[in-house]
Amino acid sequence: MSILIDRSSRVVVHGLTGREGSFHGAAMLDYGTQVVAGMTPGKGGQTALDGRVPVFDTVADAVRETGADTSCIFVPAAGAPDAVTEAAAAGIKTIFCITEGIPALDMIPAVELVRAAGARLIGPNCPGATTPGQAKVGIIPGSIHREGRVGVVSRSGTLTYEAVQAMSDAGVGQSTCVGIGGDPIIGTTFLDALLLFAGDPETDAIVLIGEIGGAAEETAAAWAAEHLRDVPKAAFIAGRTAPEGKRMGHAGAIISGSAGTATSKVEALEAAGFRVAGSPTELPQLLRDAGYRG
């Protein structure tokens, strides 16, 4: 089953004719994802990716003509909140926004409109998601994955690849791996992802990769302590050496005063039964220590 995406997902790529969109659109297609449409205003009627994918002027056209149900957004920051909203209005149910650098206040109405439409937003500023062996949406390299039963949720990109590669190398495969994004205002939180994994019969264990800033890890930990008590859980938190008051690359990765520190997150996760790794390479062993037999 997995979460968010699988082999039946029908993906429309916003910005498929652009540099990022065409590169990653091709990689998604090659992985086996059903990339059924591209969307670039003014290029409707054309095709992209060597004639393999039709392009539409609007998301509504793409949905009507191809039955697309999943969006992958590569448009620049200034237009990305509008793209998110357009997808939701067209009836898309799962919207991945890869775009980085969107002003946070622009995302507030977009997140609300997605919610009101009954859709789900992942990101922005996220690498997307992969359900190994079935589909990938976004920019995560397909080669790092291995099919399995561990649900991975992370705020980062390359750090997730590091952790997933270590898991795959150790024979620990993933049910779905999702990057929720490094911005302060995001559509799907750690807690939302845990709720999805908890309802997925093909996920038996959880890996959570967090970082400094905000309190989303703590919130997810509090819920997991109660509802995922018997599920093997491991975590890694980046930013133990980050100074206070500096934005560490991600817009959301900042310690404000005493809030959002790595220590607070590590303590909350450990109290909730997560085994917290000192290095991402330790995650597969920690899952096994926690009783995971995958």
């Binding site: 002003p103 990109g157 490094g182 980046a238 133990r240 050496t241 980050a242 560490m248 959301g252 991402p280």
Partner: protein, 391 residues
Amino acid sequence: MKIQEADAKSLLVAQGLPVPPWEVAQTAAEARAAANRFLAAGGKQVVIKAQVLVGGRGKAGGVKLAGSAEEAERVAAAILALQIKGIAVHKVLVGPAADIVKEFYLAAVLDRASRRVILMGSAEGGVEIEQVAADRPEAIVTIPAHPLAGFLPFKARQMAFRLGLGDHLKDAVAIATGLVRTMHAYDADLVEINPLAVVREAGAAGAVSERLQCLDAKITLDDSALARHAGLEDLRDPDDEDPADRAAREAGLTFIKLDGTIGCMVNGAGLAMATMDLVKRAGGEPANFLDIGGGARADKVTAAMRLILADPKVDAILVNIFGGITRGDEVARGLIEARQQQERDVPMVVRIVGTNAEGAAVLLREARFETAATLDEAARRAVAASRGAPA
């Protein structure tokens, strides 16, 4: 991006909020002249406040009153000689001292958890709000703005009544809605007034009136939105950004200088933080956070290397690249080019995996670079090299 109190107050005034007058002085003589003007206008005392972007100014002796122009000059000279939490004071704000009846806290905040703008208020103003939140959370009133309709006047009235500002309803509503308006006008993450104060003012013929004023102001701007607001970039405080950090930003890199000896070059913010953490875990101290971003080409890598080596404390370098969009061979080419250009030879441990890692391995081997297979191994060897031992 944090901005100084005086700049924050200018933004509030531009949005029509009540802020008492002030002047900024860079010398004690300027402070004296400013104090003279405020005292001549009828003030009994002036307040002199250090303009630095660190909290706890008052406790550090950076906020003082003066009753005469001469005293203002002395006080300003003392404050301008201060270092507050390591930051030298270059400017002071001079203004008339307010006759405070009661202090409040009011702030518009970008709230991650609810994904909304919220207005936070407390009748216990003038003190550290984090402390109030920790000790007596019930003393803080939180009212969310609507995600589409914004912060409507009825919510501002709710806030005013709950803070006990019913006697100043009109002003309180104007200020509450004004804070949210300010937030949207400049794409701020935080617009904080602490204290918002009821102040006593002497009017004509000895009449005394009370009104609400924003006595302090703290604004944090969203870096992602700076480009769409003309002039805001100019408010960046040079003391809040290391020169190396600024050079990096201009080169399209994210760099934050730290105190250690091991330079780090990484692609991706989360991985860059994790790499620093592993250096620390292996017994070393990271010299910097550096994210070269996704898809970096050779020229960006050479620019990054120059930044790292510009720090004389750096005595070893750890390069950690997990290629996704970024191509490993492209990074390797940049490293080779950088080493040909650099004036200082520092031990370097390179770990490149992912996209085009094989090509990178060939290039690095030919150029006799020290490589490592895993991140943990790379961190250990960089730490060993930093201590002068063979890596």
